[in-house]
Amino acid sequence: MSVNLERIREIFSDYSPEKGNFMVLLHDVQKACGNWLPEEALMEVSKLAKMPLNKVYGFVSFYTMFSTQPRGKHIIRVCKDGPCAVKGSLMLADLLMKELDVDMGETTDDNHFTLEETACIGTCTASPAMMIDDEVYGNVAPESLNSILKKYR
């Protein structure tokens, strides 16, 4: 996908140039670029934010929610931390890998789903938990997986 630089400039003009806005801004840019941050997008961000590219890259690579690798249309994040892990989130992850035919961190061939692990998402009352994009799913039973995925197919 080619990067829509015009859209990135629009996003920048929506925010005041305060440092504090940088993170929100990048979230938006990432969304606009299809869930990841291609090289051209980072260069444009660097220019617009007047922030050198090494800093932009250092920043982006620090935060797990940003990616400089292509990702699918929907991101599935399976919680891997203690409370969920003891309640079967690892099995859930296995099932998803099998169902989508990808490894952890990979994107399906049709670019539809990317499967990732996440640290605790605060849904431990309903472990095992996972998120698809901004939607949280708790108590995910293996049987229910397919019907959840269907919504996004």
Partner: protein, 599 residues
């Protein structure tokens, strides 16, 4: 701020300024504390955690390099608790570091190895991390990166970002995946690196190094068909002694001459000669520019003019201020001027086919390696300069050949193009080019020597970040009537961070000077990235002293009075700024910008 506060270090009382670090108090008390991420030139990081000390009243140990003294403190540096923590953190570092000291350029001068030695590391406490090995980045003409040896001390980042205001490195990723990276994992050759080598000079390990061309030089020396000519810059001469155990600031020029001849160089020439040539060309260019601006009101001609002898600085402005390249003098650096003259005029003089000549430049600088490889640097019809060697590389070559400076006799440079004036000598220190230029320009314009005691233009000397001075031109010679009463305003900046301050003013339109000297490295070339490690503020001062002493001892102290220079113009170039000069001694620049091109 200057309130003094008492600190007790292992029973020794010292006083330090409020805000000073505990580490500096320890130094003052003569107590040595090991460090890996601290460097006297750099901002505090506090990440390696080997400088830990016990501060009374604090629950945990504290990093002495990062802890500011704001109230009286009692500090212990030798307790078992401290020793164990330091040793343990060192053990952890050793487990992440792929050490192969035999083949490492820092063997013998490695801060990590030294610490391991001092702390009696006799076994690996922890298994080695099992991260995949990195491929070495050797694409740059100047800098090599071997990330397997990186210990994440971030000195290079702080050097490049804070000290040089170039933005090459940053930490990437988090957790155990942290690595020191170039933006988007590019090769250092493909980004804004200006090749200054300051990061190399501060890296505690062999993770950063400069390209080594000594093997090629050895081969050329041994090749009977080739005639290998060495030119040596002033700064290496003021520093190479350090590699042989002399204290910083020891002058070894003449011993070095002898050693290099024994190593097999066919001629040993003095780059100071080319520095004098640079002054002639640059001084003339300055006067021409002033004339066009003041008399002809030519808007296309740009003032202030910036010096262009520092290839790191040239690349800095190409990347960061590509729209202001017109302010750069078109003069090549002395190294490149020399190369061009050697392969033309000098070749003819000594009767050797220039295609058989190899020119080698001994430089304090890693950017010179890049400079001599710039595609446009072939005015002589050949590569003007074939190899740039750093001071460190030269020392290694000499040691390899068993040539120790202490054992060497003293020898002079080769004649014909062999000698430079004192003005050329001081090129090595920040302010030196300016001083040399002013000695000549003032005299050209007024017919009188500069009005400073013993010709020492002290306002442009010293390690102040930005130095400025002005000089009123009065009772000028007839042909310079248009300059009568003009106050010549000059400035000197060293380190690209300081240069950036001036450039930002230029962009704002508030920069009011005629002539500005910039050297990419702190202290000027004597603090270059190819100089012996360590380089610290004290060591830079000592090297500067050596350079200024040598200037005072040279009989000819003004470039235009160098008889060899006069001869060169008479026999070959015509006059400064002539067509021939432009062909051989001047160059042009490239707009680069801050982003790599996608290939």
């Amino acid at each position: 701020m200057s309130e003094m506060i008492k600190v007790n270090i292992d029973g020794i009382e010292v006083e330090v300024e409020s805000g000073a670090t505990v580490l500096s108090a320890c130094e003052k008390a003569g107590v040595k504390v090991p460090v890996l991420c601290h460097h006297p030139d750099l901002n505090v990081a506090g990440v390696c955690r080997v400088c830990m000390v016990e501060i009374e009243g604090m629950g945990n140990l504290q990093a002495s390099c990062a802890y500011p003294v704001t109230q009286p403190l009692t500090v212990k540096t030798k307790t078992n608790r401290v020793r164990k923590a330091r040793r343990m953190n060192l053990d952890l570092v050793l487990a992440e570091h792929y050490g192969d000291c035999y083949t490492c350029p820092r063997n013998g001068n490695c801060e990590l190895r030294t610490l391991a030695d001092e702390y009696g590391v006799d076994k690996f406490k922890f298994p080695h991390v099992d991260k995949p090995r990195y491929a070495k980045d050797t694409k740059s003409f100047s800098i090599i990166r071997d990330q397997d040896k990186c210990i994440h001390c971030k000195r290079c980042i702080r050097t490049c970002i804070d000290m040089q205001k170039v933005n090459v490195y940053e930490t990437a990723n988090k957790g155990h995946d942290v690595e020191i990276q170039v933006a988007l994992n590019k090769s250092i050759a493909d980004v804004v690196c200006i090749n200054c080598g300051q990061c190399v000079n501060r890296c505690p390990t062999g993770a950063l190094w400069t390209q080594d061309v000594s093997d090629q030089v050895w081969e050329d020396i041994e090749n009977p068909d080739l005639f290998v000519i060495m030119q040596t810059a002033p700064s290496p001469r003021a520093a190479i002694g350090e590699e042989f155990g002399y204290p910083p600031g020891t002058r070894v020029t003449k011993k070095l001459n002898a050693a290099m001849r024994r190593a097999g160089f066919d001629k040993v020439l003095d780059t100071n000669f080319a520095a004098d040539l640079t002054i002639m060309e640059e001084g003339t260019e300055l006067l021409e520019r002033l004339h066009k601006v003041i008399v002809k009101k030519d808007k296309s001609v740009k003032i202030p003019m910036f010096t262009s002898c520092s290839p790191g600085w040239v690349k800095f402005i190409e990347h960061y201020y590509p729209d202001h390249l017109d302010h750069l003098s078109t003069c090549k650096s002395p190294q490149q001027m020399y190369g061009a003259v050697i392969k033309t005029y000098y070749a003819e003089k000594i009767g050797i086919d220039p295609s058989k000549i190899r020119t080698v430049a001994l430089m304090p600088c890693s950017a010179k390696k890049y400079e001599c490889n710039r595609p446009e640097m072939n005015a002589s019809g050949y590569r003007d300069v074939d190899y740039g060697l750093t001071t460190r590389e030269m020392a290694m070559m000499l040691k390899e050949a068993g040539l120790h400076l202490a054992d060497m006799p003293t020898e002079e440079f080769d004649p014909v193009l062999g000698e430079g004036s004192g003005a050329g000598m001081i090129f090595g220190a920040t302010g030196g080019v300016m001083e040399a230029a002013i000695r000549t320009v003032y005299e050209l314009v007024t017919g009188r020597p500069v009005p400073f005691e013993r010709l020492n233009i002290t306002p442009v000397r010293g390690m102040e970040a930005i130095k400025e001075a002005s000089l009123k031109l009065e009772k000028v010679k007839k042909e310079y009537k248009w300059l009568e009463g003009v106050e010549l305003k000059i400035a000197v900046a060293h380190g690209t961070a300081n240069a950036k301050i001036l450039m930002d003013k230029l962009v704002d339109g508030t920069l009011d000077y005629h002539f500005i000297e910039v050297m990419a490295c702190p202290g000027g070339c004597l603090g270059g990235g190819g100089q012996p490690i360590p380089t610290t503020p004290e060591i830079r001062k000592a090297r500067a002293n050596a350079i200024y002493q040598e200037d005072e001892e040279i009989e000819i102290r003004k470039s235009h009075e160098n008889p060899l220079i006069q001869k060169l113009y008479k026999e070959f170039l015509g006059k400064p700024g002539s067509h021939k000069s432009h062909e051989l001694l001047h160059t042009h620049y490239t707009k680069r910008g801050q982003y790599f091109v996608k290939d």
